[in-house]
């Protein structure tokens, strides 16, 4: 402890760090509004999971070879020969799923508590961009094992942009690096996954976290009322971020870590056959979080289907700026907008479920059903 203090003093004398540290300490000691509960620990859980993704991703990158000829073999080598390689890959895989789930939960929490309203619109906008970056991480990472499922899943997903009028085919070519998904696509996706997207993530996350600390957690009052001061918050029972909320954050991290390890140990991701551009396996689907968009394309013409997810994304961006300008933060006083979001969410979830069921056979109540391309069930009759 004494040695640590000596190092600090040495640095402080030379760099004058004490005032900066005081600002940080003061900021961390600021009280949080009394309504802050366990749901407010999801953001910290995301930072924790992103840390795990960076660590496991770096370890995977030591052995992974991003070439069409060797990618699949290198993944096989990682899981079969590298000590604990299977666990590192499994953690990375399950971590990516948990990040998407917790990001969506975090956004729902912010929406319900009206945390995106003035003056925190920029924090929300950056958050929406972070959601986009996280989905792109999933999209680019999905191809990297270069097995049949990942290859054809990417073929299916990258066909959608081609239906955008005029520039569609150009966008697709830029995205996949040619006419067909191949080695060039793998190279592009790898660079995006390990370099471009992490750069965007660090930048956006840095601004997002800074804004959260700078502006503090929003109260539940109307936006035209002044936000309670630290003194008022303390009087209402609000406790400081450090150490009270940090202890909650760490508890949530432990639970998330437990869930992540359980899933990774018991359900490691499967490695399919190597990608074969000449043989299309049946029932190919993208990752679960792209299933609603994938299913939508089956019901409406591609030219419309491609634009609806983009419009939804735009609506998320416009939410605090144009769509919800009421001064109320409490969800029960914003019934119209909450109702609208619930309806859209139910449709998205339904599309996802239909996408999951489509082109599969399921047994329900002892009867077998085949779900066709549109997700409609057809009872299978046993031919005697």
């Amino acid at each position: 402890m004494r040695a640590l203090r000596a190092v600090w003093e040495w640095l402080d004398q030379r760099l004058g760090l004490a005032p900066g540290l005081q600002v940080i300490v003061n900021n961390l000691s600021k009280p949080l509004p009394p309504h802050v509960n366990w749901l407010f620990t999801l953001g910290a859980a995301l930072v924790f999971l992103l840390g795990i993704q960076i660590l496991t991703g770096a370890l995977l990158m030591v052995y992974y070879i991003p070439s069409a000829d060797q990618a699949h073999a290198s993944i096989e080598m990682i899981v079969s020969e590298v000590p604990l390689g299977w666990l590192i890959r499994s953690l990375h895989n399950w971590g990516s799923h948990l990040i998407v789930i917790i990001t969506l939960m975090h956004m729902v929490r912010v929406f319900v508590y009206g945390g995106y309203k003035k003056p925190r619109e920029v924090t929300w906008l950056i958050g929406v961009l972070l959601l986009g970056v996280i989905l792109l991480f999933g999209f680019t990472g999905y191809l990297l094992p270069w097995d049949q499922v990942s290859y054809w899943g990417t073929v299916v997903t990258t066909e959608a942009p081609a239906s955008i009028p005029f520039v569609g085919s150009l966008i697709r070519q830029l995205l996949i690096g040619g006419e067909e998904v191949g080695g060039a696509t793998l190279g592009r996706f790898f660079v995006a996954h390990v370099f471009l997207l992490p750069l965007a993530l660090f930048g956006l996350m840095g601004i997002h976290l800074f804004l959260i600390r700078y502006q503090g957690v929003s109260s539940l009052g109307r936006i035209d009322e002044p936000e309670p001061t630290s003194k008022e918050m303390r009087a209402q029972g609000g406790k400081s971020f450090f150490p009270y909320h940090v202890l909650k954050d760490i508890t949530t991290m432990y639970v998330i870590f437990g869930i992540l390890l359980t899933l990774s140990l018991l359900y490691p991701p499967f490695i399919g056959d190597p990608a074969d551009p000449l043989s299309t396996p049946p029932g190919i689907k993208p990752e679960w979080y792209f299933l609603p968009a994938y299913q939508l394309l089956k019901y409406v013409p591609d030219i419309i289907g491609v634009q609806i997810p983009l419009i939804l994304f735009l609506l998320l961006i416009l939410l605090p700026l144009v769509i919800d300008r009421s001064p109320e933060r409490r969800a029960r006083r914003r019934k119209r907008i909450v109702g609208g979001v619930v309806v859209i969410s139910v449709i998205v979830v339904l599309l996802g479920i239909l996408g999951h069921l489509s082109e599969s056979t399921q047994t329900w109540f002892g009867k077998e059903y085949y779900f066709d391309l549109m997700g409609m069930p057809h009872p299978l009759i046993e031919i005697k």
Binding site: V79, S80, G85, W86, T251, F257, L261, L265, L266
Partner: protein
């Protein structure tokens, strides 16, 4: 001269423009040789979509003028002579031809010695399965003759090993879902299959010791796989205990954090 004709026939077959997997209905040979064409239409060679008349007989398939179709420069050899049957089949089936040439049946000067088509038929070519082994022996080696017994032994040995290998393959597939690291046994499974394929080919040499050696080698590979699967099952149990351990550690830490929070 005959070899030269065969070489031309092979050369024609190998030409980039060589006709294969075409429809038998379009082939001119079938107009006169309709019985053979009918048999060939049911053969594994045709149903696999790989071969037509010229692959064994040479000549031009779609030439209506017989003289041109059967001209020597087209590689036409007509019905392959007894002594070249093995080499005609061996164009594709190199392994069986190689082992056949080392076996007791290969000497075409011995009257009644079989050729490939004696067991596999010529036009209605049968799929080469182990079931064919005994059926092919008994027409010549009747009853309790050592040769017939040999056929039975080799047949049952290969059938048992094929079934075992299929079960091992299924087991590996089902376990790979739980333990992806078992992918390391895929090449071993490939080797086990290669040994069995070799044993199949060695049946053409009629030497049971060769077949035995290959089957044993395949069994060794299978044993490696089964040992790996058993280890994987033990690891799966360990993983479940590891999960219990993880949650104990998580809960202890949560309790400690809770205590710390209450102390504040």
């Amino acid at each position: 001269m005959r070899q030269c004709g065969l070489a031309i026939a092979i050369a024609i077959v190998m030409l980039p423009g060589s006709v294969s997997s075409a429809d038998l209905d379009d082939v001119m040979c079938a107009i006169c040789h309709f019985e053979q064409a009918e048999d060939f239409a049911h053969s594994v060679h045709y149903l696999d979509g790989k071969m037509l008349c010229n692959d064994c007989h040479g000549g031009l398939l779609f030439e209506a003028d017989i003289d041109i179709a059967k001209a020597p420069e087209t590689g036409f050899i007509g019905r392959p002579k007894r002594e070249v049957v093995a080499s005609v089949c061996g164009q594709c089936h190199r392994g069986p031809e190689q082992f056949f040439s080392q076996g007791p049946h290969h000497d075409h000067n011995v009257p009644n010695n079989p050729t490939c088509i004696t067991c596999h038929q010529n036009h209605r070519v049968l799929e080469a399965t182990t079931a064919l082994l005994y059926d092919a022996c008994v027409p010549c080696h009747i009853g309790d003759s050592p040769a017939a017994k040999l056929g039975v032994i080799v047949q049952s040995r290969l059938q048992i090993e094929n079934n075992k290998l299929a079960r091992t393959s299924d087991l590996l597939d089902s376990m790979r879902i739980i333990d992806p690291s078992l992918v390391r046994f895929d090449p071993v499974l490939g080797e086990a299959y290669a040994y069995i394929r070799e044993a199949d080919e060695q049946t053409h040499a009629m030497d049971v010791s060769w077949v035995e050696a290959s089957v044993n080698a395949s069994q060794e590979k299978q044993a490696q796989i089964l040992q790996g699967v058993a280890e994987s099952k033990r690891t799966e149990r360990l993983k479940k205990w590891a999960v219990v351990g993880v949650w104990i550690v998580v809960l202890i830490n949560i309790l400690l954090l809770r205590m710390k929070s209450q102390q504040l």
